[in-house]
Point group: C2
Chain length 333, copies 2
């Protein structure tokens, strides 16, 4: 198959962890052996865990030698692979959505690792131009590894848009959950697994912004209890009085800010908004992306529905059980 095929597999894997990798970029990696058989499809899952290349190398090696016992800690894993790869990945091809990092960050340089594995060719989606990490492809070339850059470049650049926004300042997305008919009245809308995904997102966000209406009608807690994660700070934008007995005020280690405008405090970098029609209407030109869920139900109840005008570009879509969801951004934004 052509390079694009493997790169799309890597992109698709990376999307499973979009935003969850904060402050790191979402990155996917595929390794094929010297004959072109796929050895691994993997991704970076969370800051502090292994980079995509390291995860993919581990998966490939464990397939080729099931007796290898890998350490958990990513630094130890890196060292272990350097000493125990047995040239099993010699002449393999590695597809990675973002240029392998050149630097020692929380984990050691991926470019150095790839050279040590004696990979024959590295196919890169898009360059890493960040000051800290750039230069990976030069390290590879100097070691005699063939390098191709720019395969599925548009898709790979889109994948790291949140990362580039974090680098420059902040990234924000508006999460919306509806039934198939667009209704979103009180009560649970999506499946438990979809809500766990939302809690994973909350766990990596430093601020959730809601409107006063959501607080009054839904009385949410807005924590990450389903995954035992953290509770981000809350900003409530409301021109009316706020009832401070609401559950979200009773969460430890959380700051709650109340203001009568929709300005976003500068100190926050990874920002989620949750709400309904009026809040979406107010915030729609302030957010970078939209994360829109549709559950598997039609409900004839007189549920609220969204009244706003938006023309969106679908960036990525997927499913969780019977729910569908898409990451969108405004066209011409």
């Amino acid at each position: 198959m052509v390079d694009e095929f493997y790169m799309l597999l890597a992109i698709s894997e990376a999307w499973k962890y979009q935003v969850l990798t904060y402050p790191n970029p979402a990155v996917g990696c595929v390794i094929t052996d010297k004959n072109g058989a796929i050895l691994s499809i993997n991704a970076h899952k969370k800051a502090g865990l292994a980079h995509a290349e390291l995860e993919a190398a581990k998966e490939a090696l464990s397939r080729l030698n099931p007796l290898l016992k890998f350490p958990q800690n990513p630094n130890e894993l890196h060292t272990f692979i350097l000493h125990n790869h047995q040239n099993l990945l010699k002449d393999s091809t590695l597809y990675v959505t973002l240029e392998p990092c050149s630097h020692q960050g929380l984990t050691p340089s991926c470019a150095e690792l790839i050279c040590a594995l004696r990979v024959k060719k590295v196919v890169i989606g898009t360059e890493d131009n960040t000051k800290r990490a750039k230069g990976g492809s030069e390290i590879l070339k100097k070691a005699g590894v063939k390098v191709a850059i720019g395969i599925c470049k548009k898709e790979c650049k889109e994948l790291i848009e949140p990362f580039l926004s974090w680098q420059k300042g902040s990234f924000s997305f508006f999460k919306l959950a509806m039934r198939l008919d667009g209704s979103y009245d009180n009560g649970i809308i999506t499946s438990l697994l979809s809500r766990e995904f939302t809690h994973k997102l909350r766990d990596v966000c430093d601020l959730i912004i809601i409107g006063g209406e959501t607080l009054r009608i839904d009385k949410p807690t807005l924590d990450s209890r389903l995954i035992n994660g953290k509770a981000p700070d809350i900003l409530i934008c409301s021109q009316k009085e706020i009832d401070k007995s609401a559950p979200l005020f009773n969460v430890k280690n959380r700051k709650v800010i109340i203001q009568n405008n929709i300005d976003i405090p500068k100190k926050y970098k990874n920002i989620m908004m949750e709400g309904g029609s009026n809040f979406l209407q107010a915030m729609r030109n302030k957010v970078d992306w939209f994360l829109i869920f549709h559950s598997n139900l039609f409900s004839s109840a007189e549920g609220r529905s969204i009244k706003t005008n938006l023309n969106l570009k679908l960036i990525h879509n997927s499913r969780i059980e019977n729910d569908i969801f898409g990451w969108y951004k405004q066209i011409n934004n």
Copy 2:
């Protein structure tokens, strides 16, 4: 990678042609070489065109020998491949969602072709128990081909549900297009490519059923003009008088039936329903599947929205440009 990985690629490819293969089943096929590298991912696209296995063999051979010039006609293609495969697919593995056919139908037996190619192993999703086609795996085994049956069986059985319904009588699905907010008021909702997909579906259906309200409000033509396809017969279910000057009455070679009940005439086998809230409410327990589109727009106009109760299982989801769509069926149906 494990067998399930390749089977899921085959399943995903087959879904692109779901219903479009009428009266044949949707079938996908992946071929990997003796080293496990993917040579082709293909599917049966339309009755009278090549079966999935033949399409996949052609794609694999054209990759291995770009000089081969394949004939278009599937019977000629079958014969050509029998005489020109040059043992290039010897010891390959073939993954196919449905047991290869044993019989000479519109095209010759796929099982016989696979034996001639000297494929080493055939991995089958689900058995073909239809009288005409069954027995393919026995032919393979007798020729010394390794056969594994039942990989991703649940998904592969679901894929051929429309086919099994056609075999027993008829299959019907309700197509619904909404904006992200659930609105579906007058005018175009989805993109041109999505509408072309709908026209391809109409082209293979023998009956479209609508309610009187759709006729009065939308005044649709309900043909396949975007793809120069055929116009299926129409059944209008309405208790009110019908305006026979509507555009759908002016289409040649079409029968229009008007009745004041929702009984479906027995002679039709592949049936599409299109409409809005009231018609969905009326027909929801009469249809097998639902095909639900959500476009990329929110529209604050006071659009109609669906008022019914349905609890659906998502069978398959995908996208066309910025539109998302899912094939659904009722849970416990």
